[in-house]
């Protein structure tokens, strides 16, 4: 299942609608749907924030292969930004030292089994793999 979404935070409603439809179509237990929603929200908003002037929409695809979910986001007009190597926050830091930024990618890395980044011909593709078990 796939959908192209405009490069704006307001498109999150459509993103969550896509996830809902996918879970229904595939008959997946919705107890872990929030993890898929969180991973896609963080990656989508990250793409919008880091590349607000990119051209065109962002393609989001959700696939199931046996007991694994494979999710990917493609931005067809982007600079290189490898989300797998982004600086992550120190979540042990005391309150006064906490800085904004990075927490979303940190959570994604905590919650999914694998996160991949590919860049070719100005297209950034982020792939998330997670187990349904």
């Amino acid at each position: 299942m796939e959908r192209t979404l405009p490069r704006t935070i307001e498109a999150l409603e459509d993103l969550f609608d896509l996830v809902r439809q996918f879970f229904v179509q595939e008959g997946i237990d919705p107890s872990n749907k929030w993890i898929v929603e969180l991973a896609l929200e963080e990656l989508f908003t990250n793409t919008v924030k880091h590349n607000p002037r990119g051209g065109g929409d962002i393609l989001v695809r959700l696939n199931r292969k046996d007991d694994r979910l494979i999710l990917d986001l493609s931005d067809f007009d982007s600079e290189f930004f490898d989300v797998t190597k982004a600086k992550l926050p120190d979540i042990q830091a005391p309150l006064e030292e906490r800085q904004p930024g990075g927490l979303g990618l940190y959570l994604v890395k905590q919650l999914v089994d694998d996160l991949k980044y590919e860049y070719q011909g100005r297209t950034s593709k982020i792939t998330v793999i997670m187990s349904l078990e």
């Binding site: 999150l12 409603e13 969550f16 929030w34 969180l38 309150l95 906490r98 940190y106 959570l107």
Partner: protein, 94 residues
């Protein structure tokens, strides 16, 4: 669908799904909070890093004057998110 309101005892009650599209609205709402408050999450179904970032910012501001947000009634998913992000060390959670 997301709403945020003040309860009868002054507690702050967000309800529904707090995603990044709600950030500006919630930040503005919480700007008015200047003293310790209970943040009752019984009606909150979902929160992402955008929401967590706003709560951290409010907690930082309040702590400077000896005040704090105290979190109650978070559902297991929301509790997990607080734990994974280390926010369980920054807030009193009941």
């Amino acid at each position: 669908m997301f709403e945020i309101r003040v309860g009868n005892d002054g507690e702050i009650i967000p309800s529904g799904r707090f995603d990044a599209s709600q950030s500006e609205r919630v930040a503005k709402f919480l700007e008015e909070v200047t003293e310790s408050r209970v943040l009752d999450l019984r009606e909150l179904d979902y929160i992402s890093s955008a929401g967590l970032g706003i709560l951290v910012h409010v907690q930082q501001r309040l702590r400077k004057s000896g005040e704090a947000l105290r979190i109650v009634n978070a559902n297991p998913q929301v509790r997990d998110i607080f734990r994974f992000s280390g926010l369980d060390q920054l807030f009193e959670i009941e």
